[in-house]
Symmetry: D4
Subunit: 163 residues, 8 copies
């Protein structure tokens, strides 16, 4: 094969792709202040129902910003809540909805095997408009739907800050 | 948004949560002496039935206190028994009951994917009254229910110490 | 047992196996130039459908040659695409076909537990004739079959180079 | 509770268990010579059917003694064959039988989650009489039952050495 | 050797050890409320000096209770601060002092290789009297001694609670 | 201790910290287009000197955006280049300078033990003004200083885009 | 090159090696009974000096047989003692002597980087005559030489069983 | 900045790089037959000196082709020999020479921290002319230089096959 042909093909590929490209992106992201509020709210919402949980808040990259573990929450809730938050931030979806989707669709059953994913209710994205700027994960309540309720309640309390 | 509003919200959140807080907790926990007894009892109970097992005892944090591996127990029983004990101490429940619950409830099916969890019979919490102070995990018998029987027998022998 | 018998058996075994052996093999393999093209093509094909994906290209050993992650593709797509590519290069098959095969055949169900395997659509081998020289893995589209379509489109654009 | 009671209980426990104990055990184990033969035989048996496999032989502790990977066997076959061998040596059973057992018995379904276990056909114990001295694992054939056939054929060729 | 001798030895061993044993221990431990204060104080103390840090607080078992990562603290500060806290809680010592000790004493040089240890300044135990109930780890300041200063300042602010 | 005192302290802490807080941050970040250019430039700069390298570009979170491995670059260059890029993005500094600093300062010697850090020349931050938006890591040249030269040359070629 | 030559070479290689080979080995190994004694003795010896330690006993394969962690021994002592025992059993030497050797000999300095090795005093082989049948590792005393003293004392108490 | 400028730059970059590119490479690689010979030779050469070693042979990608562990070689020699072989194949150099280089050159001291590297004597590349097609790693002799001697002797016996 000819090197010249290779070069031409490559050049065309890049040109086609680059037309709308921008070298430096501007993004919105989670702050520590917001992360602390969401984590505290989530633990408090669950504590009010006598659920001992950990809440982990991650930024848009899925990296931890804040963690709070309730006094009687088992150690497994640390990693479980982090994974739910990571899953939710990375997939830009609630983990409960993702779990239900994977259970209905054979083609998605093995999503559970993606490293970093945990498909149990309790992970909810944090959004500013349509932009996902992070997520909260809650673990330790006696059911993933209950973990999710605490997460949603926590976000509801900060909705005025997400504008 | 205004910093002042943020600060006020935060202050209220913390105040609401702190009313019943206590900075330093008092907890009961597993001793090495108790851990050795439970591990020895569990191995002995299984040996009496010709089951070659490992018994691992963890404290309330899910961290190992004692391990005993019978002469013909395979190496996989080390980590299997530890995970059962960790799961049981962290979730404050028997692993056999947890497994059966997860198999009946689609929303809990993915509990098996939580790091540190192993949902097979043989993990049993160690309690003083209602307080979980650790757990024992047994692995190697030809069935999780049989592993659990050895664990329960082991705890039965120390019940007078758990008061 | 006799050492002489052992030696004779061994000698025969090796002789039988060695008749067609060759100490040094000649193989074809992926180049960086080709890997870059395939990765770029795959991202572009998905972007055209508004799917934010990562494309990873591996060589015949399953080792990474090129990675490109689209601006809104979550971090989980990095490892998911690499695992699909690795699985496809190592098994010399499409991951979508492997997934469907494992779902139909109970004897293959546990293939999902092989370290390095990810049985979700999106991994496609790169072949020169019948020889597999690597693979591309795509992750991030809303369905493994859609990931696979981007992978196939990417390879279609370089088919003239694979001769 | 009283320390004296504790001590008495403990002493009785140990005495009861120790009656038949022996401080130093005598065991039979796999040699490198045997491991090389079994690995070579297994690869040859599969090659004869045009299956490109890796064969791994472990000792009674589940630790590797010999590995051989055929020229076109994918890299995933290394760890897959080792895990099958480890599983088989540790559980003292064929992995194919273990897989089928786990699929029939809900109480055993989560055996697949034990660290080090891979429940796919191809792992077969190596025995001297009733004593398991190691195992062979084969991976890469288009079906675990076919991997097992190569393993069994390999062991059949050395049966005179296992006495 | 005789089983009877074995049993007698064992019984004596256990009796000797058990005289002062207690099956269930009473311990003091970190609360979430305290952990949140310490983490917030440590981040604030560093922020006042324009150091972007993560503060992690662990309980007496070395398990995380609270994490806060400042807005510009790099992701490596998460694990660095956690390891400093774990090291400090487990060894019951400041990590800065441990590092200096290891650098002076050849016999301790390889302490750096203990899994879970990170011998860099910034980990400080949290004590009630002489009892270590947890630790705080700080990472991200331009020097371990500066990380430690933030940790110490944070604990100084809660000293009235540690009685 | 009194809950009221606790609450007051906490409220004051948060108020003090929140005065300049902002719930949602605006940040600049690496694009795939930029990452591809930098990776290609770095490989080309090294290839011009007959160094076979991998170049990895990460975003401000330290997560991979693009990887290119030259045809004769060994597999270890994949992880080495990624770790250099991660280290550089997370610490906001050149890895060569960090290495030299750690070698001069005993208090920093153990920085090499921070998970994710690799203190070898070749990692260079990508900046827009003073803001670090990612980093490039190069590995495979016969010296970290040479890897760094390729990284710097690669960034020099895109400097007009970083404004 | 000719296949016939290959085969002949191979046959000779194997014949030369096999003359003294034996397919099945007979070995002595650690029992649980012995492991329990050694672990208990080691913890007791250290406790007598007010050192809070974990003692781990492994068999000749380096796999755990018994673990005992004293009531105030930090969690890091679990893995530290296991690694010392593994190192000692695998290298058939005291870890204190290995550490000192590595510190004197530049060619051995990087032994510390071998996976599974921990070159700190406290690991001591258990021997029957010249045959190493396992090892004990102790961690938690304020110095590796002190850990070793407890290990040696523990073995001294069982020397009559090691014949 | 303008998209058009970006596209032009990109096109030029790729064209410049592609002039000598080739999409599909032809490479020489290790065969199983050769790997078996080298591994057997290396173990035999060490056994002749009463060194109990493991020999691991990898292909040009650093992936295992054959492993043989002598009857008294400790389990740590498995991973040590593999890492030496991987290091040698990936860096295309003897590990003994690499270690000595890193010890003399401060800029290379941290090469020991590259994942997959083990800088101890005993890893030697396998070459056909100047092309590295794999490597052998030996571990277990009482000194890396002795491990290397066995590796070199093993390769010397197959030199006629490496043409």
């Amino acid at each position: 094969m000819k090197a010249k042909t290779l070069a031409t093909l490559a050049a065309l590929t890049v040109i086609a792709g680059a037309a709308s490209a921008q070298a430096v992106r501007t993004e919105r992201n989670m702050s520590l202040d917001l992360a602390n509020r969401v984590a505290a709210n989530a633990v408090a919402a669950c504590t009010a129902n006598k659920y001992n949980v950990t809440a982990t808040v991650v930024d848009r990259a899925g990296t931890v910003r804040a963690v709070q573990r309730a006094d009687l929450a088992g150690p497994h809730t640390l990693e479980a809540s982090r994974l739910k938050a990571y899953t939710s931030a990375s997939a830009k979806n609630n983990t409960l909805a993702m779990m239900e989707g994977a259970q209905k669709n054979p083609g998605a059953a093995n999503l559970v095997n993606i490293p970093g994913y945990l498909l149990l209710g309790g992970g909810v994205p944090v959004k500013v408009g349509d932009e996902v700027i992070g997520a909260v994960g809650v673990a330790g309540a006696p059911g993933g739907n209950l973990d999710e309720q605490c997460a949603i309640a926590a976000l509801d309390q900060v909705k005025d800050l997400l504008k």
